[in-house]
C-alpha cells in the first residue's frame, strides 16, 4: 500500500498519511463494499484514489505521455539500412554472472527500488500492482482506469527500465 501511495505523492510522510486515510476510509465504508471486486482490489483502489487527489491537491498534475518511447536505447541496434543485420543488436546484452538468488541481496534490491522510484508515476503504479503485488491485469485496469493496451504499454516500459538499471549495475560491479 505504501509503495503504491508513494507512486503518486512526493514524500514518504504524505504517503503514510494516505495509507492511514485509506484504512480509515475502508473501516468507515465497509458496509458499502459490494463484493464486485476482491477485497484487496477494493482497498488498493481506495489507496489510488486518495493518493491521486492528494497529488492533485499538491499541484502535481500527471501527464499521460502517449508518444512512443523505445524499451531499449536505439543506439544499441544496428541501423535499418545495415546490409546484413538491420535492427539487430549492435551492443549485445552481456550475460549477468550474478546468480539469481543473489538478485535480491541488499545492493541489488536497492537498485531495483531506486529504479522503481525513478519511473514516471503511471508506470510505477502499474509495475507495483502487477509485478510487486502480483495483481491480475484486469484488476489493475479497473483500479487505475486504464485500457488493457495502455496498461500493457506502461508495464512493459517500466519492466524494461528496471532491467536496464540492473544491467547498468551489473556492468559496473561485474567488470572488476
Amino acid at each position: 500500500m505504501l509503495r503504491l501511495a508513494l507512486s503518486r505523492v512526493e514524500s514518504r510522510a504524505v504517503a503514510e498519511e494516505v495509507v492511514q486515510d485509506a484504512w480509515l476510509t475502508v473501516l468507515r465504508s465497509l458496509d458499502r463494499y459490494e463484493r464486485r471486486s476482491t477485497f484487496r482490489t477494493w482497498v488498493l483502489g481506495i489507496v489510488v484514489n486518495l493518493a491521486r487527489s492528494r497529488a492533485r491537491a499538491e499541484r502535481r498534475a500527471v501527464p499521460l505521455s502517449s508518444e512512443f518511447v523505445p524499451s531499449v536505447d536505439p543506439a544499441r541496434f544496428l541501423p535499418a539500412d545495415h546490409p546484413r543485420w538491420p535492427h539487430h543488436w549492435a551492443v549485445e546484452p552481456a550475460a549477468w554472472r550474478t546468480p539469481e538468488d543473489e538478485l535480491l541481496a541488499g545492493e541489488t534490491r536497492k537498485v531495483i527500488l531506486e529504479a522503481i522510484d525513478a519511473l514516471p508515476p503511471a508506470q510505477r503504479e502499474v509495475i507495483v500492482l502487477r509485478d510487486v503485488e502480483g495483481m491480475p491485469s484486469t484488476d489493475v485496469c479497473n483500479i487505475l482506469a486504464l485500457t488493457d493496451t495502455h496498461q500493457r504499454v506502461l508495464l512493459h516500459r517500466a519492466r524494461s527500465r528496471v532491467r536496464h538499471a540492473l544491467e547498468r549495475y551489473f556492468a559496473a560491479t561485474e567488470a572488476t
Binding site: L2, R3, R12, E16, V19, Q20, W23, L24, L27, P70, S71, V72, P74, F77, W85, P86, H87, H88, W89, E92, P93, A94, A95, W96, E100, L103, L104, T108, R109, I112, L113, I127, D131, V132, G134, S137, R152, L155, H156, R159, S160, V162, R163, L166, E167
Partner: protein, 84 residues
C-alpha cells in the same frame, strides 16, 4: 504452416513485445516470428532471460513496512474506531 516466408522479427522489434509474448498476447504469426528469431539469436535469449529475472525479482520484493510513527497513529485510529 506459418513457418515459412514470415518476415523476420529483428532484435529491435523483439524487445518491444516481450511482455506481450510472456502474457500470450501476440498473434500466432508474431508469436511464430518471435520464437523463430529467438531460436537463432543468443543475444535476444539473454535479454529475454534477464527480463524474466527482473520480473521474478520484482515479485519477491518484501512489502515495505510502515514506519513506527505511522503504525502507532494507525493503531490509535483503530482503537478509537472500535470504541465507537
Amino acid at each position: 504452416m506459418i513457418e515459412k516466408d514470415l518476415p523476420e522479427m529483428p532484435c529491435r522489434e523483439l524487445v518491444e513485445v516481450i511482455s506481450d509474448y510472456l502474457e500470450d498476447r501476440l498473434s500466432p504469426v508474431d508469436r511464430a516470428r518471435f520464437e523463430a528469431h529467438l531460436a537463432e539469436c543468443e543475444a535476444c535469449r539473454t535479454y529475454l532471460e534477464q527480463f524474466r529475472q527482473t520480473i521474478r525479482a520484482l515479485g519477491r520484493l518484501p512489502e515495505e513496512s510502515l514506519s513506527s510513527e505511522a503504525r502507532n497513529a494507525l493503531l490509535d485510529a483503530f482503537r478509537g474506531w472500535s470504541h465507537r
